[in-house]
């Protein structure tokens, strides 16, 4: 329904019930493949996937992810990686969540009807003068290919730094910066998540041997059914209502993470992932 993989919620929950962090993260990305495949297929039938723009976003996201992985390596060497990750999480979730919540609530109060695409930001000015201007008919926008590639690259960097799929940043970015309709943003995000998580699952399986296929299938069974129901429920909701729901989830997670930063932890030791 939201176009996010849910990794930013599910991995901590798995860790809370006693699954080792490495296993939780890797198995989660495997189950996201199942969930996003199911969600993408459902959205494809509903005409909500912009394959052309999704491919550009995917390439940008992968490039940004590569940069992010090396950035986090440098931050770890400096000993500030964990602080950077947590603070980035809180700031990004807080900013994007609060903006989306306020903006959508305002639109609902003003009585906006039906999903309304945001005006394309590249209609005039600097962005319209960028090379490789392309029409993305499914998303009803015209942009230089460089814009979504660059923006997805930034999200990829953030996603790699934060260790998540990045859907919760990507969807708001698609809506507010690329001007895509909410439903198409959700479907297109699931499309690119499918490929990203398939790559991550393969790498985790070959490098760390931490993919638990049985656990992933059990989780995947739940998430695929949820994705189907979500894709259909999303059609019945106003796009502003979906945005408010997503923003609420983001703000709850942000508050929980901010609490983790400010409140004294019960246990001061956290197992190191990948060990």
């Amino acid at each position: 329904m939201f176009g996010v993989s849910g990794g930013f919620l599910l991995t901590p929950i798995l860790m809370m019930i006693g699954i080792p962090p490495t296993l939780a993260a890797a198995s989660d990305s495997c189950q996201v493949v199942a969930g996003s495949a199911s969600g993408t297929a459902a959205h494809l039938r509903l005409g909500n996937v912009d394959v052309k723009l999704g491919t550009v976003l995917l390439l940008g996201g992968l490039s940004g992810g590569w940069i992010g992985v090396h950035l986090i390596k440098s931050l770890r060497a400096l000993g500030v990686a964990d602080l950077t990750i947590t603070v980035t999480y809180v700031v990004m979730l807080g900013m994007v969540g609060a903006f989306m919540f306020i903006e959508s609530l305002g639109s609902l109060r003003r009585g906006a009807v039906g999903p309304k695409p945001q005006p394309s930001p590249s209609g005039h000015g600097f962005l319209s003068r960028l090379p490789f201007q392309t029409d993305f008919p499914r998303s009803q926008v015209r942009h230089s290919v460089l814009l979504p590639f660059f923006l997805a690259g930034l999200v990829g960097i953030l996603a790699a730094v934060m260790g998540v799929g990045g859907g919760f940043i990507m969807v708001p970015m698609m809506i507010y910066l690329l001007g895509m309709p909410m439903h198409v943003a959700v479907g297109t995000d699931l499309f690119q998540i499918l490929f990203t998580c398939a790559g991550v699952t393969y790498m985790q399986a070959t490098t760390n041997h931490t993919v638990d296929l049985v656990l992933a299938l059990l989780l995947g069974a739940g998430s695929t059914i949820g994705a189907q129901a979500g894709a259909r429920a999303g059609r019945r909701l106003h796009s502003n209502q979906i945005k408010i729901l997503l923003a609420s989830v983001m703000l709850v997670v942000m508050v929980k993470m901010a609490g983790g930063l400010l409140l004294r932890p019960a246990i001061h030791l956290t197992p190191v992932q990948g060990h």
Binding site: A34, L261, L262, H268
Partner: protein, 256 residues
């Protein structure tokens, strides 16, 4: 000679007077812990201690500390010379029946474990880290200590001379496959009058065993298989959902 010393005489084979059931814990797809029974003979005035120990491991942690008003990871901590699993059960309080030196020798309480563990970290309070580690393992269910609950049973039930004991404990679900040791100590007069170890194997069986074997031996194939299976599962459920919703929509149209 005590009952346990008689068992100890038969080194290398399961002692005739003590029985650990099952001797192999099998972790299948739906493994959620197992009940392990230890039974045997003891002298009337003896205290029995059952200590279960997993393989010795090294673990790496991030340690949280304060940076200004924020709690963040401030150091990397490596803890070694610790058992992956540590369970101690006794018919009386361990501290009441054995002196400190003996408790340390057999690693029968948290203080003994603290003395055995090696902690590597820069500028950290090792005592606090050790305490934190024990709390972490206790919360995880891997470290546990309890007194009492050693039931006396009829001689015929245990198959050994009177008086006998039987004790059952829950082998935790968080345990990993490996070679574990169940040590049974008979204590009297402030010393260990007999001690013996019975191995307890924990193995993966069935589908989990097949999967973990493939994951380590054919990692690349396993990676591709994981993606493919997840993809097919997702598309399969999408297909089923599409059929289901199509039928519902058709039924709705008919009813109109």
């Amino acid at each position: 000679m005590t009952a346990l010393s008689l068992w100890a005489a038969a080194a290398g084979t399961p002692p005739p007077g003590v029985k650990v059931t099952p001797d192999v814990v099998r972790m299948g797809a739906f493994y959620g812990g197992a009940t392990v029974r230890v039974e045997g003979a003891r002298d009337a005035d003896a205290t029995i201690i059952v200590a279960v120990r997993g393989p010795t491991v090294t673990e790496v942690f991030n340690h949280d500390g304060r940076a200004g008003f924020l709690w963040v990871n401030t150091a990397k901590v490596t803890i070694s010379e610790v058992p992956s699993l540590w369970l101690v059960f006794s018919s009386e309080r361990v501290g009441a029946c054995l002196p400190r030196a003996v408790i340390d020798q057999y690693g029968l309480d948290q203080a003994a474990l603290k003395k055995q563990m090696r902690i590597q970290c820069q500028a950290c309070d090792q005592g606090q880290i050790a305490e934190e580690y024990l709390n972490y393992k206790a919360m995880q269910g891997s470290y546990r200590r309890a007194s009492g609950d050693f039931r006396k049973v009829a001689a015929s039930a245990a198959g050994v001379s009177d008086p006998s004991f039987r004790f059952e404990f829950e082998f935790p679900r968080c345990a990993t496959p490996g070679e574990y040791q169940v040590r049974v100590l008979e204590c009297r007069g402030g010393e260990v009058s007999a001690s013996l170890e019975v191995p307890l194997r924990v193995v993966e069986v069935g589908f989990p065993s097949f999967i973990s074997g493939m994951a380590s031996r054919h990692a690349s194939f396993y990676g591709m298989l994981s993606v493919l299976v997840a993809l097919l599962a997702g598309l399969g459920i999408d297909f089923l959902a599409a059929q289901l919703f199509k039928r519902r929509e058709a039924a709705n149209l008919k009813s109109r």
